[in-house]
Symmetry: C2
Subunit: 527 residues, 2 copies
C-alpha cells in the first residue's frame, strides 16, 4: 500500500538548556524538506509534544507546493490511517471511509444530492445561479452540508473521529465539483465552454469548513464535459498503460467515452438523451421501488417482468426499457426499423396520445391496477435516437483512428448503466458493439472507485497527470459523417446487421423455437 | 519600491473553439511556475475573466512553498495595491494601512489589546489558559476581534475595501503571536522554554477569519524571549549589514538587546523590572493623562513638572521617575549610592510606610489636591535594580566580545522607552552608556515600523532569514559576573564614575551654579 497520506512516528530530541528550538521547528527538522504545518496542527503541538515525551506521530498529506503536516498525535499511531472518498453525483452522493493500511472500506454513506431542491436537471441548477448569484452560495452550502453529514455518519459507523481522516478524494463531473467549491459552472454549458477550473489544486479542509484534518483532492477534468468523474473512472482501467486499445464508456443522459492505450487517449462526450435513464415515455421512471427493471418475452410469447423491490409495477426504468426493446426485437414485436408489429402480440395496440391528439401504436407492458402502462411507437423512436447517439460516439471514435470494434481489447462500462442493465440486451439493441462478452468490464460507480484508488495509491496522482497529458479531445459535432452514422445506427441492431453476428444468431434461434406466426395466433397478453 | 506583494496586468488569450482551457489553467499559464490560486480567487474567476474580456489584474502574494494568486480584478488596477501592518503589543495594538506603491500610510488605528480582560500582565493571561484551556480560544478570539475592528476602521478611513488588502505583516512578542494564532504560549515562560513556534510560516487570512485577500506574515522569533517584535525592530536598523558594531535595545519590563554587525548578532534578553514603565511606587502609573512625565529641578532648587495632557497630577509615569532620579542626583537630593539627602531639599521628608509599618524617607514631588505624591527610598532602590539590570545586560553583551561602549557605532532605542524618556536623564542615571549623543537612534515602535518595512520591501524576508542565521542567543543567567556587575551598576550613574564623563561634568557644573548647601538653606518646596 502506497497511500496518498503517510504517518510517521518520530522520536524528537527533547529540549534542554542548550536546545531550545521551538516545537514547530523541532518537528520540521525531523522531516524532509518542503514540509509545512497546517495551523490546526501547529495549535496541537502544545501540549502534545511535551506530554508525549517528544515521541509523536505526524500525518503527512500532499499539499500545494509541498507536504502538509496535518496532524500530530502522541505516541506511535502508525497502525491506523483513514481516508474518505466521495462521489458527488448530480442525483446521489456516495462516500466511503477507507482504512488506508488494509485498503478496506470501514463505512459507507449515501444521500440524495440536496442540490436537487433546485431541480433534478443540472441545467436547472446552473440557471438558478444565473437568475440569482446568491444561489451559488446556497448550492455550495447544501452540498457541503450533505458532505458533512456523510462524514459524520461514516465516522460514527466506524468509530473514527473526523480529525483522524488524513485526506478526502472527490470524484464528480465538472458542474458538481464547481458547486462543491462554490464556483459558478455557467460556462460548462455556455460558450466559450471554459469552466472555472479543470483541476482546482489541493484544498485544505478548513477552507471548505469540513471537519477532517487532511486535504481535499478533487479529481481533475480533462475538458468541459470530461470531468473528474471520468478521470476517476479511468483509474479503474488500464487504458493509460496497456499496449492494445481499450474503450471506456460512461453513459447516461450524456455519454463520455475514451479510446486509447499507453500511447494516446482519445476522448469524446456528447448528449445521448434521457431514454437510457428511464426519462422517456409517460410511464418511464428512475429505478425506484415499483419500477420494472427486467423484462423477458418467453417462448410462449408472453412478456414477464421484475420490479425493483418486487412491488406492484408503477412504471419502467432504463434497464426495463432496454430489455423491452431487445426482447421485443428478438420476438418480432418490433422490426429492425423500430416499428411495432401489431400482429406479433396482443400487447401491441393503439393508445390515445394526448400530445398528438390521435391514436398511436404502443406496447402495453403491464398494468398499474387497472391502468395500462405502455410504451409508444414514439417512445421507441426516442430510445433509438439515444442508443444511436451512444453507438455512434463509440463508432466515430473508432473510425477516427481506423480501428474496427474487434480490435478493442477491453470495453469498460462505467456508471449505473453498466451495472444495472442487461449486457445482452444492450448488445441486442446495438448500443454496444458485438464483442466477445469477456471483453466487457463492468466498473459500477467508477468515479467513487477511482477516488478510493487514489486514496490507496499516491502514484495515481502521476497517473492522472499522465492521463491528462495523453488526452486529445474529439468534438463529435465537428466530425464528418456523425449525423449520417447516427442515422445508420437508428436500426436494430444496426443497418449493417453483419456487425452484430451474435444478435442475428439469437434472432434466428428465437424465431426457430417460436415462430412469430404462432405467437400472433395465440395473442397472449402481458402477465 | 519592491513590495511584498505584486500586481500584474494580464492580457489572456480569449477562449475559442480550439482553445477551451479552463479559466484557472488559462490564468496560471500566463504566470510564472509555482503560482497557485486561493479558493477565494478561484471563485472570482467567473464572471470576472469573461466580463473583462480576459484582461485582468492579478495580485501575487508569497505563500507557503510558492506564490499565491489571491485576487483577480477586471482591467488594469496595477496603480493601486495596499497592505496592512500590525503590532500586537501586550497593552496596545497598532495598525497602519499602507499604500504599497508610494509607501505612504493611508490610515492608522490603535486599540487596547482586549486580552487585558485576562490581566494587564502577560503571565496572568498565560495562567488563565493553564487553568482553563478554553481560555486560549477566547484570548485568540478577542485578539482577532480587535484586529478585525482595526482592519474595518483603517479600510473605512482610507476608502479601501478589505479584499483589496494584499498582505498583512504582524510584529509582536512570542506570547502575543501565539495568542493571535491560537497556540498555547505556556512554554514561553516555562521549562523547557520551547514555544510552539519561532516562525509560524505564511498563513492565509481565511484560516484566521480575517477579511483581507492576502496572506498573513508574522515576524519570526529568534528565541523564546527574542520575539517577532525584536526581529521586526532589527529591520529598522543596519545591524545585519554594517561593518562596525551597533547595539539595539528594546526595554520595558523586560529588556531585549542585540549587539552585532554583518558578521554576527549577539542577542540577549532578561527581566528589567516594572520601574521603567511606571509600575513602581504607590503613585506610579502608566503615561496616561495626569501622569507626571517630565521633571526638572531648577537652579532655584525647585522641582517643576509637566503632566500628560497638562492635567492636575495624579501620579508619576516611567519617564517622570527617570527624570526625578536623574535631576535628584544632579541636584544633590540623591547621592551616588541612591540615598535621599534630607538636607538637600524640603521636599525630602519621612512618610509612613504601611507595608513596613514605619517611617521611610521620600521625595514629595507633587500634590494631588491636598494629598502628597511621593517616591520613597525603597522606590529608588527598586528603580536602581531595574536600571542596573538593563545596564548590565548591555555591559555583559559588550564584555562578552571584549568591546568597550565607545566602540559602538550606533545605539538603537526601540519601544516606548526610547521615544518618551529623556535621553539625558537615562544617561545620567547610568541606564545607557555615556556615548556621543548622535550615536543614539530613537526608533519608536519599531515592531510596527519593521512590519511596515516588510510590506514595502520583500527583500526583508531574506534579511529576516539572514538575521536568524547570524543570531547567537546569550543566556545572561548563565554568565559569570552578571550579578557582580549588576551590583556595581546600582550606583548613580555607576560605581566606576569614569565611565560617565559627561554626567560628572554636568554634576560639577550644576553644583557650581547652585551649591547644595545654598539649596538646603532655602528649603524651597515642590511647585
Amino acid at each position: 500500500m502506497n497511500a496518498l497520506t503517510e504517518k510517521r512516528y518520530l522520536t524528537l530530541p527533547e529540549p534542554s538548556a542548550g536546545d531550545t528550538l521551538a516545537a514547530r521547528e523541532r518537528l520540521l527538522a525531523a522531516l524532509p524538506e518542503g514540509c509545512r504545518l497546517t495551523l490546526g496542527c501547529m495549535q496541537q503541538l502544545y501540549p502534545v509534544l511535551h506530554e508525549a515525551g517528544y515521541r509523536v506521530t505526524v500525518t503527512l498529506c500532499p499539499g500545494a507546493g509541498g507536504t502538509d503536516v496535518v496532524r500530530v498525535e502522541p505516541g506511535d499511531t502508525t497502525d491506523r490511517n483513514y481516508g474518505l472518498c466521495l462521489d458527488i453525483g448530480s442525483t446521489t452522493m456516495q462516500m466511503e471511509l477507507v482504512d488506508l493500511l488494509s485498503g478496506k472500506t470501514l463505512a459507507e454513506a449515501a444521500c440524495t444530492n440536496s442540490q436537487t431542491q433546485f431541480g433534478a436537471n443540472i441545467l436547472d441548477r446552473i440557471l438558478a445561479v444565473k437568475e440569482n448569484p446568491d444561489n451559488l452560495h446556497t448550492l455550495q452550502a447544501l452540498t457541503l452540508d450533505d458532505v458533512r453529514q456523510m462524514i459524520e455518519r461514516c465516522c460514527a459507523q466506524a468509530g473514527v473521529p473526523p480529525e483522524a481522516v488524513s485526506a478526502m478524494t472527490v470524484g464528480g463531473n465538472t458542474t458538481m465539483l464547481h458547486f462543491f467549491l462554490g464556483c459558478d459552472p455557467w460556462q460548462v454549458f455556455q460558450s466559450p465552454y471554459t469552466p472555472v477550473f479543470f483541476d482546482p489544486g489541493v484544498l485544505r479542509a478548513s477552507e471548505l469548513g469540513l471537519p477532517i484534518a487532511g486535504n481535499i483532492f478533487c479529481m481533475p477534468a480533462i475538458a468541459n464535459y470530461l470531468g473528474g468523474d471520468i478521470t476517476s473512472g479511468l483509474l479503474m482501467t488500464d487504458l493509460d498503460t496497456r499496449e492494445d486499445l481499450a474503450l471506456f464508456l460512461d453513459i447516461g443522459t450524456n455519454g463520455e467515452l475514451v479510446l486509447g492505450c499507453r500511447e494516446f487517449l482519445l476522448m469524446g462526450a456528447g448528449a445521448a438523451g434521457p431514454a437510457l435513464e428511464g426519462a422517456v415515455s409517460r410511464s418511464g421512471m428512475r429505478a425506484e421501488p415499483g419500477a420494472i427493471c427486467r423484462i423477458k418475452i418467453g417462448p410462449d410469447n408472453r412478456l414477464r417482468y421484475e420490479t425493483v423491490g418486487g412491488l406492484p409495477p408503477k412504471g419502467i426504468c432504463g434497464s426495463g426499457i432496454l430489455d423491452l426493446i431487445a426482447e421485443g426485437f428478438l420476438s418480432g414485436w418490433i422490426d429492425s426499423a423500430g416499428n411495432l408489429q401489431k400482429s406479433a402480440s396482443p400487447c401491441i395496440c393503439d393508445v390515445w396520445d394526448d400530445t398528438r391528439q390521435r391514436n398511436v401504436p404502443a406496447i402495453i407492458y403491464a398494468y398499474d391496477g387497472n391502468v395500462p402502462l405502455y410504451f409508444t411507437q414514439d417512445d421507441i423512436g426516442e430510445f433509438l435516437t439515444c442508443k444511436a447517439a451512444a453507438h455512434t460516439m463509440v463508432a466515430t471514435l473508432l473510425e477516427s483512428v481506423n480501428v474496427s470494434p474487434s480490435e478493442i481489447g477491453a470495453f469498460y462500462l462505467a456508471g449505473g448503466f453498466g451495472t444495472h442493465y442487461d449486457l445482452e440486451s444492450a448488445i441486442t439493441v446495438g448500443l454496444y458493439p458485438d464483442l466477445p462478452r469477456e471483453k466487457f468490464k463492468i466498473l459500477g460507480n467508477s468515479s467513487l472507485a477511482g477516488a478510493k484508488r487514489l486514496l490507496l495509491d499516491t502514484g495515481c496522482r502521476a497517473r492522472l497527470d499522465q492521463i491528462r497529458a495523453l488526452a486529445t479531445y474529439v468534438q463529435f459535432g465537428e466530425m464528418e459523417k456523425f449525423v449520417e452514422n447516427m442515422q445508420a445506427a437508428r436500426f436494430l441492431p444496426h443497418t449493417d446487421a453483419s456487425r452484430y453476428p451474435s444478435v442475428m444468431r439469437r434472432l434466428r434461434e428465437r424465431s426457430k423455437t417460436f415462430p412469430p406466426g404462432k405467437l400472433a395466433a395465440e395473442r397472449s397478453g402481458a402477465d
